[in-house]
Symmetry: C2
Subunit: 346 residues, 2 copies
C-alpha cells in the first residue's frame, strides 16, 4: 500500500512528466510538494515507488518517468477529472450549435471539435446502428440505365449507391419488387432485414422476376453499407508526434489502421465503463505501444450507445482529457436526443 506522501509524489511525477516531457528528478519535484522535505527524502521515496514498478528510470542516473503500471495506478486511483475551461466550454457549445440534417453530421462535428480542442486524434461513432430499423427503400432512375438505390433507417442514416441496371430488368417488375421489400421489411431491425433477405424474400420474388438475385445484390449492398459502423476521425495529423513515432513506416501503418473501419472497430472494442483509458500495452495493436486510447460512451435514450474517443501519446494530460470527454458525453447525448425528438415532432 502506498503512503500518502508516495501518492502525492507519484501524482506529481505523472503531472510534471506530461507537462515537460522530461524525466522528473528529485529536486524538480521538491518545488511541487506541499510538505517540507529534503531532496534525499524524495529520493528515498522514489526508490520505493520504483521497487513497486510504478516509476522507472530512462538510464541509471536519470530522473523518473511513470511506468505503464504507474499510469495504470494513477488512472485507477489518483486522477481527478478537471473542470472544463470556460473558453473551451463556450467553444464546444457554439461549435455544436447548428442545425443538423443527419446524425452523421453531428458525429463528424464532434470529432472535429474534440481534436481541435486537444490536438490529439479524435474518433467518434454514433449510436449503434444494430438497433436501427429500415424505414424505406427507393429506387430512382437516373437515365441511361442507371439507378440510384436509397435506403433510409429510423435513426436518420441514409445510404445511397448508383447502379447500372441490366437490360433484362424491366421497370414494372422492379416496382413490384420494391413494393414487396417495403411491405415485408419496413420496420424491422437491419439485422433482421439482412437475415430475411436470404431466407423468405428470394422465394417471394420469383413470382415477379426471373432472376431476383441480381437485384437482391443491389439491395444487400446498400444494406451492408448502412449497417456498417462508420467512424468519424479527425485530427489524424496529430498522430505525427516525435514522442511516439519512430519512423515513417510506422506512421504509414498507423494511418492505414485508422482509415480502416474494421481495424478501428476491433481496436476500440466494447468499453464497459462510461470513460475508459487503455494504455499502449493494453491495446491489441502493437503499433500503438506508446499511445493511449480514452473512450467515452454515452446513451441516447433507447437509440443505443454512442462513443467518442481520443488517441494520443501515453503521456496525455488525463485529467483535462477526461473532463473534456465528460462534457462531450453529455453534449452528444443531448444533441442527438434533440435530433430524434425534433424529427418526431414535425
Amino acid at each position: 500500500m502506498l503512503t500518502k506522501r508516495q501518492l502525492i509524489i507519484l501524482k506529481d511525477i505523472v503531472r510534471l512528466y506530461t507537462e515537460s516531457g522530461q524525466p522528473v528528478g528529485s529536486k524538480t519535484l521538491l518545488d511541487q510538494l506541499p510538505m517540507h522535505v529534503s531532496s534525499a527524502t524524495v529520493r528515498n521515496e522514489m526508490v520505493r515507488l520504483e521497487d513497486m514498478g510504478l516509476i522507472e528510470k530512462t538510464h541509471l542516473s536519470s530522473g523518473r518517468v511513470p511506468s505503464t503500471k504507474g499510469y495504470r495506478y494513477y488512472l485507477d486511483h489518483l486522477v481527478e477529472p478537471s473542470g472544463v475551461d470556460a473558453n473551451d466550454l463556450a467553444l464546444i457549445e457554439t461549435s455544436f450549435d447548428q442545425s443538423y440534417l443527419q446524425i452523421d453530421q453531428i458525429i463528424a462535428q464532434s470529432a472535429k471539435i474534440l481534436s481541435s480542442l486537444t490536438s490529439y486524434t479524435a474518433i467518434s461513432l454514433g449510436p449503434e446502428l444494430r438497433d436501427a430499423r429500415l424505414t424505406g427503400f427507393r429506387l430512382v432512375p437516373l437515365g441511361d440505365h442507371q439507378v440510384m438505390a436509397i435506403l433510409v433507417t429510423d435513426n436518420g442514416a441514409v445510404e445511397n449507391q448508383i447502379f447500372s441496371v441490366p437490360h433484362e430488368l424491366d421497370s414494372e417488375s422492379l416496382e413490384k419488387t420494391i413494393r414487396i421489400i417495403n411491405d415485408q421489411l419496413i420496420g424491422l431491425p437491419l439485422t433482421a432485414v439482412i437475415q430475411k433477405l436470404h431466407s423468405d424474400i428470394p422465394q417471394l420474388l420469383t413470382h415477379y422476376m426471373i432472376t431476383p438475385s441480381g437485384f437482391l445484390d443491389i439491395f444487400g449492398n446498400v444494406l451492408k453499407k448502412a449497417a456498417k459502423e462508420r467512424f468519424h476521425v479527425d485530427g489524424k495529423m496529430n498522430l505525427i508526434n516525435p514522442a511516439t513515432i519512430k519512423n515513417v513506416d510506422q506512421l504509414k501503418s498507423l494511418y492505414a489502421l485508422i482509415d480502416q473501419d474494421a481495424d478501428l472497430a476491433e481496436l476500440i472494442g466494447v468499453p464497459d465503463q462510461a470513460i475508459e483509458v487503455r494504455l499502449g500495452d493494453e491495446l491489441t495493436n502493437n503499433l500503438l505501444h506508446d499511445f493511449s486510447l480514452i473512450t467515452a460512451t454515452y446513451e441516447v435514450g433507447d437509440h443505443g450507445k454512442g462513443m467518442i474517443a481520443l488517441l494520443g501519446p501515453t503521456s496525455m494530460p488525463y485529467s483535462r482529457m477526461i473532463g473534456l470527454l465528460d462534457v462531450f458525453r453529455e453534449e452528444l447525448a443531448k444533441k442527438i436526443t434533440d435530433y430524434y425528438t425534433h424529427r418526431g415532432e414535425e
Copy 2:
C-alpha cells in the same frame, strides 16, 4: 550556348543526383561519360556550367547539384521520356480493367494506380464539368419531412443532398416546381443553369409557390456541389520525405493545402501543354519550394479536358515520370471515352 560535352555532363549530373540523392563530383561523373577525359577536364566544364547558373555547390568543396535553372534547362532541352516498363504497363492495364459506374471512380482509380507506381502523390481531375449539362433533377421523399435532392449531369456525375422540408411546402407544388425545372433547364450547361436560376426561374415559380427562394436554395446548393471541381488525391503519405519536409508544421500546412480543393485548383491552374513540369519556384505556393509538379492533360472527345498530375520532390526521375504520365493520358482518355460511348449504346 552549351557544347555537346556540357550537355552530356549536365544530363548526367541530373540523372546521378536523382539516383543517389548526393551531390555529384567530377570523379563519379567520369565513369558515366562516354568520352575519355580526365577529372580535371570535367571540373573545368563544371565551372563553366556553374557560371551559367545551371548547377551549384552545396558548400565550397562539395560536388554539384542541379540548380532550379539547371532543371529547367534539362526539362526544356534534354529530358527524353522513357518508355514504360512492361510490368508497369501490365499493372496499369489490369488495374484499370474494371467496370465503372461513375466517372469519379475511374478518376479515383487513376490517382491510386499512379501514386502506387511512382511513390509520389498523384492528383487526378476528371474532364471539366464546366461543359457538363444537366440531365435531371429529382426530389425523393424519405419520410419525416426529409427529402433527398438528386442532380444528374450528362457526364455521369450524380450529386445528392438531404434536406429538411419546411411545413409550408406541400408536395404538390414541389412536384410542379420540379417539372418546371426539368422543362426549363435540362440540357443546359451547368453554368447556364446557375445563371437562369437567378434570372428567369424565380418569376416562373411565383405562380406555384409562395416562397420559391427556400426551394431554390436547395437546388442551388446541390448544383454548386456538382459544379465544383473535385480532385482525387492519392498517396498523400508520400509527401513525407526528408528531402523536402523540414518540420512537422510544414507537413501539416501541406496537407491542409492538398485537402482544400480550391487551393489545389489554384495551384494547378490551367496548364497549356499536354505535359508540363513546374518546379518549386514556379509554383505559387512557397510551401512547395522543394517540390515539383508534373501535370498532364488529356482530351475526352467533346467532353472537355481531364488532368492528372504528380507532386514530388524536385529531384524526380523525370523521364520515367513523363513516360508514365503519357500512358495515363492515353489510358484515361480511352477509358472515359469508353464510359461515355457504352452509356450511349445501352
